[in-house]
Symmetry: C2
Subunit: 373 residues, 2 copies
Amino acid sequence: MSLKQVCVLGCGALGTVLANLVANNVSKFPEYKPTVMWYVRSEEFSKQRLVDVIKNNKENPKYAPGISISDKVIVCDDASSVTAAADVILFAYATRHVNEILEVMKQHMKKSVLFVSFSKGLVVPEPNSQAQQKDICLVSEEIQRVTGIEPVVVSGAMTAKGLDKAELCEATIGSRSKEAADEVKRLLETEYLSLTWTTDVITVELCGALKNILSVAAGIVDGLNLGANTKSAIIRLGLYEIDQYCHSMYAKYDTRQSTLLESCGISELFKCILCQSDAMPQLGDDWDVFNLLIGRMMSEPQYAGMTLEQIQQSFNPDYVASGPDTAKKIHAQLNSLHLCEMYPLFTAVHLICSRIVPATMLIPMLRHHPAHR
Amino acid sequence: MSLKQVCVLGCGALGTVLANLVANNVSKFPEYKPTVMWYVRSEEFSKQRLVDVIKNNKENPKYAPGISISDKVIVCDDASSVTAAADVILFAYATRHVNEILEVMKQHMKKSVLFVSFSKGLVVPEPNSQAQQKDICLVSEEIQRVTGIEPVVVSGAMTAKGLDKAELCEATIGSRSKEAADEVKRLLETEYLSLTWTTDVITVELCGALKNILSVAAGIVDGLNLGANTKSAIIRLGLYEIDQYCHSMYAKYDTRQSTLLESCGISELFKCILCQSDAMPQLGDDWDVFNLLIGRMMSEPQYAGMTLEQIQQSFNPDYVASGPDTAKKIHAQLNSLHLCEMYPLFTAVHLICSRIVPATMLIPMLRHHPAHR
């Protein structure tokens, strides 16, 4: 039997660290080739090709500075050949680039490939897809639509920096196949990274997308100085809404409330709300913290005259927080279904981020929350 | 039909605020007497009797300074007569005083009384009870043993100060009777305090007791500077152990994992771990934060030569953190049942607080956690 090739797609901080981690793990198992292929897309760094900089310096200075890249990681800038070689794909792409790379990959993938997605969030359906703009499209759904392959999803409280420093981390594997989950566990698990498995793929992925709305809400509470009782209550109400959403909108799947208690649920949320800093997250940190910052600023009086876009751009024109965007997409869907009143927190976050209502309306909008009926 | 008398027992910050809150609520419903009786035990403040100070100043300067006491609250220092008059008892006693007051109350209580307990934690069984020292005894079990009445329990992320300031708060009612739960909800609910009901009394109360162990663990993580991924993972593993404990040790009750997602579970925990201050909690604050501080100090090198007791006494000789004490009691029970390896976090917290193992053993002790099998 020929040895299986593991490939990593995504040259951000998480992709870089995953390539290292898995390269170390594959050597322990006889069924894998001892090196990992890593696709680094064509872009520039200091007027050189990033892929060349990485090859020469054994470091990714653009997205993961300070992290040495293992000799067992083979860097390649040709997505087609990496995809064609892959028996296992670890896919760690920012959601905004997902459509683009999938279009390239789909022509080259083996039908038997094990596709593992670390991407969180909602993608905008392609204009030529059957989905409506008001429809919610998960990354896994988009992967399946474009490539025909049902991916395994991995989500949890693990940042690239945390993994690189060998901090104790946990993550949740969402997979309908036990065999696939076992293989992912074998490939990823280390002394410091533990994985649990659930068949509830939908909730694993939706937690990853929807917790960003809760992070914005937590930031709004901070900005309004509402205190720890209120912050705790609001996060709990948010988890209630995530549970309701998974259960109602994906009724044909076997979604389970218990998945919220996995790393993909409460731990991801803990990690974000524990942040007290007003500084932007750095490369390899928890990028969701940007949602918390945006929430804080949306509710502080000194930014009352600024729109969400202006606040985001005050950091960097390229930065877009995922929370307000997710809240907007979810709101469009809920609104079209006349379900907004079942989701007062999701609704409030969208209306506050759109400057349709002031941040001080957060609490009044949560009175008579369905959780309290 | 004669009007029902509501009485509050407990003159700490929460008792004070509850007396005010309920005095305001009873006047809205025709079945209650328009005033609330409040038992203030015989103790001194500034060389006067506390009960006289409270009566004269309409304030409880010892436990709830700055909070005006409603004219509808009738202060009384005779526990027997307050108990005898009560149709509804709101019981907000520190666990260490529970045995003592119950002995007084038991002779005077109406058989029909609605007994609502806000006390959290484990009591030491009385020497004359059938329970062994290694047995765990919940406040509700002790109430039932001594008085014969099954109490309703209320627990959640609500501090006395938060309630007094009308911050949005939530709490969970644990009651096997819907009728009793409805009455508690009617008596306590306000524009700013929302209550949810569950029949899972055991989990509501165990969350209140066991989360203190998790707060110590969170403090240990802080002291060791282990980062947000690890802190999130450890809190999640702690919730897993709470769930296992409720399910295994109280197998004859219908305990439910979903109760962890109520205010009594995750919100209580959020509230505590959100605290970043090194200062002791103040009267009316979340006293559980003391567990977090103790955990931090137990793991910081500069306190390595000090025992738990010495660290506690460095604050105030009277202060005893409930977390290490709870961990000790739970450990004695688990050890006698040979179950320690099913609860590595509970076990680690006890062994670290007893200085049997160094704080740096926390992470190694969590390797191969049952949650990851």
